[in-house]
């Protein structure tokens, strides 16, 4: 699969009409990170329910279509899931969510930035250190 195949209608739709975009108040989790190569920025805010589930989740950011669509799709995927689910989230899950098998080393960081931010936030909330780098 060529890397430009990623730019399907679905990805472009999420890029141009991001779901769950904007601030979420009040929230229990907030985390942000950027990708210095691309300048992609993602900030995620999460409201946690009493039973430790993602009750609501929003993101803010700017950057390429891959990073922004990935973040928006991830918020949809994560809503209603237990925080433990975030721990299990992997690179393979994100690629599957984006409908691609590989993005190549130059662009994979764009796709995984939102997962890294979400994991950082959730791990911070759970009081545990990030036990593995998010993009490996």
């Amino acid at each position: 699969m060529s890397s430009s195949d990623i730019y399907r209608e679905l990805i472009l739709d999420y890029y141009r009409n991001p779901r769950n975009f904007g601030k979420l108040d009040p929230h229990d989790i907030e985390a942000r990170d950027s990708n210095p190569l691309c300048g992609d920025e993602i900030e995620i805010q999460v409201k946690v329910s009493a039973d430790q589930k993602i009750e609501d989740i929003h993101f803010l950011g700017k950057g390429c279509a891959i990073s922004q669509a990935s973040a928006s799709m991830l918020t949809e995927l994560a809503k209603g899931k237990p925080l433990e689910w975030v721990k299990e989230l992997s690179k393979g899950d994100i690629l599957k969510m984006l409908g691609t098998s590989d993005l190549g080393p130059a662009r994979i960081k764009c796709a995984l930035l939102s997962m890294k931010v979400l994991k950082t936030g959730v791990y911070g909330y759970l009081g545990a250190a990030l036990d593995e780098p998010a993009d490996h």
Binding site: S2, S3, S4, I6, Y7, L12, R16, L37, C38, G39, D40, K62, G63, C64, A65, I66, A106, R107, C110
Partner: protein
């Protein structure tokens, strides 16, 4: 088919082995020359030849190979001297690149001469390598920095520069050619303004020396920095030109072997110029490769290199002008710009655009180009950038335009 009026590009292309490569099954269209350039066979061969026949530590031994290595090293320096018309061999200091050259000035000159409250004048169009060293210096000694802005068409605001000169700056550091806008600044005029105001002048020539005739005596600068790899030479070799009088009174930068004349337990005496600034075993193959690159450029003629790039830039600007939704940055008059064309296409992020172009074999740069203050001043977070050199043809511009059409189709623009 359009052909360059200045260079026989087909002939030039034969000298660059990498241009035969296919990228994703397509012809390589290399348009990332402001980042680094490809190497002609003569440069590659010069370094293989050095290691195959002449390698030894220069300046150290009395044996034959050490003599040959020293000769090769110095021969490379002599080529640099005449290439930028320095007045003496002593004025050319080898470094790892323009970044190290600028850092050398920051440490060996700046730390002793810039004092608390002094004014450092930069321009907003500087590469990070001509900003961060001065920010660190300013923080260290308590100096302040002012940035000259740019007009909407990408030219320096000379009225701002003029006003800052009235505040007696200690240092004026600026790029001769912008790596984002392509703008060519009038280095002679700026240095003359700086000199009249009593400032020391530093020229970042990383994007000018490879592309046009640069004459340091005509410019009248105190320092000028450039890199070998952006002018067909190898990575890891660069040059700091410094006026002899100013280099002579400076303390060393890095210290160790080769930069000393005598070392005693009580202290040391520094070596003569330029060796005072070249500590440790030097990058001889880099100096040899840079020398071969200069020979190659001289064989083409720098006036022809410049006019070739002007023609390509003019053609690219003309072609891009008809693309719906495109914004092209920098001066429209090609006599005021180098072969660097930055642009944005609709709402396509430059990284997405660069990925799509890569599929077509077209290599461009995308992002902030190590010039974040400039992009922020323009309200941008990224641009796409195509930059030309001696082996680029009108066909390459056409390939870029074709790839941009594909990107517009994919993004439904």
């Amino acid at each position: 088919m359009l052909k360059s009026q200045s260079l026989d590009v087909e002939q030039v292309r034969k000298d660059f082995p990498i241009l035969k490569r296919k990228i994703h099954g397509k012809r390589l269209v290399y348009l990332d020359n402001a980042a680094t350039t490809q190497k002609p066979r003569s440069v590659i061969r010069s370094m293989v030849d050095f290691y195959s026949k002449h390698n030894a530590n220069p300046h150290r031994g009395v044996h034959q190979l050490s003599i040959e290595s020293t000769e090769a090293f110095d021969a490379g320096r002599k080529k640099v001297v005449s290439f930028i018309n320095a007045s003496a061999f002593e004025e050319i200091v080898y470094t790892r690149g323009a970044t190290e050259s600028l850092n050398l000035v920051r440490y060996a000159w700046g730390s002793r001469h810039i004092k608390k409250g002094d004014l450092i004048v930069l321009t907003i169009m500087e590469h990070h390598s001509n900003i961060v060293p001065w920010q660190l210096l300013a923080r260290e000694v308590g100096a302040r920095i002012e940035y000259v802005g740019v007009t909407p068409d990408g030219s320096l605001r000379f009225e701002e520069l003029e006003a800052l000169m009235g505040q007696s700056p200690a240092l004026v550091a600026f790029t001769q050619s912008s790596n984002v806008l392509g703008t060519i600044n009038d280095a002679q005029k700026i240095c003359s303004m700086g000199r009249r105001a009593g400032a020391t002048t530093v020229v970042d020539a990383a994007q000018s020396v490879p592309h046009m005739q640069v004459d340091v005596q005509k410019i009248g600068c105190d320092f000028l920095a450039f890199s070998g790899h952006k002018m067909l030479g190898p990575t890891g070799i660069g040059v700091l030109y410094g006026r002899k009088e100013i280099l002579a009174e400076m303390e060393p930068f890095l210290s160790g072997g080769d930069m000393i004349k005598e070392v005693h337990i009580s202290g040391a005496r520094w070596n003569d110029l330029p060796y005072k600034f070249e500590a440790g075993t030097q990058n001889v193959e880099g100096a040899v490769g840079l020398g071969a690159a200069i020979d190659y450029l001289n064989s083409l003629g720098m006036d022809k290199v410049r006019s070739h790039e002007e023609q390509l830039a003019a053609y690219a600007l003309e072609q891009m002008g008809s693309v719906p939704g495109i914004t092209v940055y920098g001066p429209k008059d090609v006599s005021l710009r180098g072969g660097v064309v930055s642009f944005n296409l609709g709402d396509i992020h430059p990284h997405d655009l660069a990925s799509i172009l890569d599929e077509e074999g077209v290599a461009i740069r995308s992002g902030m180009h190590c010039a974040q203050p400039l992009l922020e001043s323009m309200g941008l977070s990224a641009t796409s950038r195509a930059s030309f050199y001696v082996y680029n043809s009108y066909d390459d511009v056409d390939a870029l335009m074709g790839a941009l059409s594909k990107a517009r189709r994919i993004f439904c623009l």
